[in-house]
Amino acid sequence: MDPKTPIAHFENVGLRYGLGPEVLQDVTFSLKPGSFHFLVGPSGAGKSSLLKLMYLAMRPSRGLVHLFGRDIQTASRDELPALRRSIGVVFQDYRLLDHLSTFDNVALPLRVANVKEQDIKRHVEELLAWVGLKDHMHARPPTLSGGQKQRVSIARAVISRPKLLMADEPTGNVDDRMGFRLMHLFEELNKLGTTIVVATHNEAMVDKLGHPIMRIDGGGLKVVPGRRAENIFGGQS
């Protein structure tokens, strides 16, 4: 893929569920490689629907969606797994598999990619240490706190070093301190070149971090340039 090719490119995208009204209307935007965007908007505005299109859980009803330069409308089912492996998703409800340990949940993207078990062990242990869950490696999700689950979910999303990372309300179930720590984690990943989209209701955090904003309302989307003068984690604060 050409390094200048947008990670995601949407053009006049519309989405409806069944025969219902369009929840997304003429959505147009492009995400450059290495960019960081917040996706904001009122509840029911279509944030989750837009994310679903971006992480390939759905195809649009109309319009053009390109991910990593590939037209999704014409991509076959067999092509989707490879594209999905380049995308990491942190779900609002974590979507961890309760019967698997923390280790196995995080290892999932590597296992589906047929990575050798010894490499999986090394990478997963390293990442769990990074998110502060090395001591909970064998714990099952139901025994973890909300913040711990969130970090497992993040670890699972980034383990395969995705080009695009999406997080749906990642700070919704954690306190402010943990919320800022998670955002710091995303910024670190962004510095390593990962394109990030974070859907959030947390206007304070959006204001503080100052990244560009994708504002969605009434099914339409506007991109507002960011204000990166201040960064609570950066050297300018």
Partner: protein, 294 residues
Amino acid sequence: MFSRRTDLPLDKDPLSRFLPWLIAFMVYLAALAQAGLIGLDSLAQRWDTGMAATLTVQIPPDPNAGTATNARRLQIALNMISETSGVLKASVISEDKVLQLLSPWLGLVEATDVPLPILIDVETDPDLNVDARVLHQKLARRIPGTQVDDHGVWLSRLIEMVRTLEGLAGGVLLFILLSAAGTVIFTTRTGLTVHAEAIEVLHLTGAHDRYIAKQFAGRAVALGLKGGLYGIGLAIPTLLVLGHMAGRMEAGMLPDIEMPLLGWVSLAVLPVLSSFVAGVTARHTVMRNLRRML
């Protein structure tokens, strides 16, 4: 194609716990049907090769003739039979043997009590078709009242019936196989519904349909094998008891039916077959159902 490691909690499905017993029951029935099929086939083959190439010539007793005349009539018949093309051997059945054969109807009698027919057992070459009608006409001209029983006629009807029963047993086997496949399809579809959310997570993390199907197939193979072994474990004692009971019947009409080695091998293959059918069916069901998802 199959995988033992699973990211899905398939072993916790209530239906998965019943599947081995359902398969066990089907393998049990299949083993009985297959043993019946093998037994019938062996019976038909024995009749076909053993009795199809035999005739029985019956010379009626002539109470007015003396022993010398009867001996001459017998010699004439034996000569005519032996000269017939395709006849390999002709032997007179002893009076004692004839009395033994008649004893169920007449009880214990002496040869002098009743006029006994002379019976000649004729062995023919199965490749050279001896025409029993022509032989009968020839013999009847010289010795009036002589009868020729061609076992081939009634035997062919009996064999035809046995072959029909074999077809029926084959049909039962096929039906059992389809039922087992249907059970696996139902269980797999239920599993897909129960684990829909986990499957979606696997998909979204980049899993191919094959990866998911392999896990269902691996589970089905294990359950199919387990059920197959239970089923065959129950079927073998049943077959041994049936064989023992059949041996005790001492029915002269039925030759001894023994299960050939190949028959036992084919029964031993049933658990492997049930496991394979379960695995392939589960894999196919998952692949087919996942194709409807994005």
